[in-house]
């Protein structure tokens, strides 16, 4: 990892303005987000915490451009997401956002290294370059010796490490993680928390959704949500 140091004084890399998100459910409208505004600067490590159903995952999906708000805007790395078509939005996610999911979602038929290479291949990186980068990233997450193993041959913690390496593959502007320790036991989860801390120290911008107070406590900034609103935002 080559980036180092937080830049809290820099311009926000991610700006959310008055985000609202409504879902139809069983004939009624669920208000998942009710006017959420947020700014995240390069190098910040932000935890979005709150009870289940408070809208934190929905917020993360809107920030990452995998869902569209009912109203409000998201600007990522200077690009207003609502103005982008599907192709441009997909490209933005590929190059500027790294996603980590609770259930890892690795391709089971690919090896750890191939899973990490996938976003780089999609971005058009040469095979030799992406293989070298995958080796570097797997070493970074502590899986140097497991690169040839299929996803199905890895433990939960190892799969989440591979998912993290995959998220870092195209050197994104921000990593968005949704309950990254949700499927892991305490010890394994601890290892992932250590990795996130290391990433933050290396200057990676992190936004982590969690209801795990340990993980929230690791972050430099904690945003608490309740009923679709931000109720506190503490650094």
């Amino acid at each position: 990892m080559s980036r180092r140091g937080q830049l809290p004084g820099a311009s926000p890399i991610l700006i959310a303005r008055e985000l609202c998100k409504d879902y139809p459910m069983h004939g009624e409208t669920v208000h998942a987000l009710r006017g959420v505004s947020l700014e995240i600067r390069p190098g910040e490590y932000v935890a979005i915490a709150g009870p289940s159903g408070c809208g934190k995952s929905t917020l993360l999906q809107l920030l990452g451009g995998i869902d569209t708000p009912t109203s409000g805007t998201v600007t990522l790395n200077g690009a207003a997401l609502e103005r982008l078509d599907d192709r441009a939005l997909t490209r933005l996610r590929l190059t500027k956002v790294g996603f980590v999911f609770q259930r890892f979602h690795l391709l089971p038929v690919l090896s750890a290294a191939e899973n990490v290479e996938l976003p780089m291949a999609e971005a058009g990186m040469a095979r030799a370059d992406r293989q070298a980068r995958a080796t570097e990233l797997l070493g970074y997450v502590g899986l140097a010796g497991r690169s040839g193993h299929r996803a199905t041959q890895l433990s939960g913690g190892e799969m989440q490490r591979v998912a993290l390496a995959r998220a870092l593959a195209n050197r994104p502007a921000v990593i968005l993680a949704d309950e990254p320790t949700g499927e892991l036991d305490a010890t394994t989860g601890r290892g992932i928390l250590d990795l996130f801390r290391q990433l933050s120290l290396d200057g990676v911008t992190l936004v982590v959704v969690t209801h795990d107070e340990r993980l929230a406590a690791e972050a430099g900034r904690v945003v608490h949500m309740l009923d679709g609103r931000i109720v506190s935002d503490t650094a």
């Binding site: 995998i66 869902d67 997909t90 590929l94 956002v97 259930r103 979602h105 391709l107 996938l118 998220a167």
Partner: protein, 393 residues
């Protein structure tokens, strides 16, 4: 996104799908071969010795009936007078009998001009000489039954008197060679001799009767015009190029061909359903995975391509095995069908033709790709966030 590896996530299911595609491909292949095979085979048979026109009694095709043409020598001279005609040979068919010590054997006799004939090829011995009034050629089954080989003498008779049950004419002929007759059915007992010999036996020499003529016209460009000239010169006779005969043959086989097309289309439909069903099941199982791929920036196009490649790989695997199965099945069915009595053994119902096979292969691969397209598009266009939410619960 490796299509082959993805297919082997569920090896038993994939294996069953490949087996299904293999069977439908074999059926499709056999129907493609069958739909035009017999026509192509018939055309090859007719053109086998380079004679591209047939002359027969008006309203018939050669050997369609027992009708004969009188004045053969004059007609032959008229045919040969056309500048485009390079050869013309008379042909007479007659029922004959060969004497064995204890019985008479029924034979089919061909009267030919050995210098211009289109009905046999020599297997052993020698051909009849010019004006060979003492020689005869036997088919292999006839040679076997008569226990006669090259150099032996056989006695042929014809026109049994129905009351006295004795032959009117009898000829002792020396076997010059053993041949295979191109239009004989399997096991047919046939002989060929110089035309006047058979005319004598059939008692039609006086009227110089023949059943048909085979004519060779030089150059395809001249064929249509020369055929028309022959029709004008011999209006009392039926004159057809091989192309004309194949066209008439095709008309007779129209229902046969339609049946082939219908069965072929059904096979193709079953292939589409098989691949679409399998790909839909596969894609539905992987909706969460596909949504993840979309989330991390994999384009809709890449996902659609990947799934369509899986469909194509499935079809290709099943199709390749299906071709082998189809060829084996075609050979087996051909043996059954060509054993029908009265059908020339040289006719084949299943004849591979590169263009048809290429079209069938192309249609099959396209089918596989397109069958994967629908589930692929559904998957690629499913809402990412909603799918991930649904996958998480």
């Amino acid at each position: 996104m490796n299509p082959i590896r993805n297919l082997f996530r569920h090896p038993i299911r994939t294996g069953l799908a490949i087996a299904g595609i293999m069977v439908t491909t074999a059926m499709l292949l056999d129907m493609v071969l069958l739909s035009g095979g017999i026509e192509r085979s018939f055309e090859r048979l007719l053109l086998g010795r380079g004679y591209n026109v047939r002359v027969s009694p008006k309203g018939t095709l050669p050997f369609d009936t027992d009708a004969t043409i009188p004045g053969a020598s004059a007609i032959r001279a008229t045919i040969l007078a056309d500048s485009a005609v390079v050869a013309a040979g008379p042909l007479l068919g007659a029922a004959l009998y060969a004497r064995r010590p204890d019985t008479l054997v029924t034979l089919f006799g061909y009267g030919v001009d050995p210098a211009a004939q289109a009905i046999y090829q020599l297997d052993a011995g020698s051909d009849l000489g010019p004006a060979d009034s003492a020689g005869v050629l036997l088919s292999q089954p006839a040679a076997t039954l008569l226990r006669s080989g090259v150099g032996d003498t056989v006695t042929l008779q014809a026109r049994l008197d129905p009351e006295a049950a004795v032959a009117g004419v009898e000829r002792r002929l020396v076997v010059r060679g053993v041949v295979h007759f191109l239009y004989d059915y399997t096991g047919q007992l046939s002989v060929a001799a110089w035309l006047p010999v058979i005319q004598d036996l059939a008692r039609v020499r006086g009227e110089d009767r023949v059943s048909a003529f085979v004519v060779r016209i030089q150059g395809d460009s001249e064929l249509a015009a020369a055929t028309e000239r022959l029709r004008a010169a011999l209006p009392a006779l039926e004159i057809n190029s091989v192309g004309d005969m194949v066209a008439r043959f095709r008309e007779r086989l129209v229902y046969f061909r339609q049946l082939s097309y219908i069965l072929g289309t059904i096979s193709l439909g079953v292939t589409v359903l098989l691949v679409t069903t399998l790909m839909t099941i596969t894609v539905n199982e992987r909706l969460g995975e596909i949504a993840t791929l979309r989330a991390i920036g994999v384009s809709q196009g890449s996902i659609v391509r990947g799934i369509m490649m899986e469909g194509a790989a499935l079809t290709l695997a099943g199709g390749s095995l299906g071709v082998l199965l189809g060829v084996v099945t075609a050979k087996y069915l051909d043996r059954i069908l060509t054993a029908f009595p009265g059908l020339p053994a040289a006719i084949s119902f299943f004849v591979p033709e590169p263009r048809s096979l290429m079209i069938a292969a192309l249609v099959l691969v396209l089918t596989g790709i397109l069958a994967g397209a629908y589930p692929a598009l559904l998957a690629a266009r499913s809402p990412i966030a909603a799918t991930l939410r649904s996958d998480a619960t």
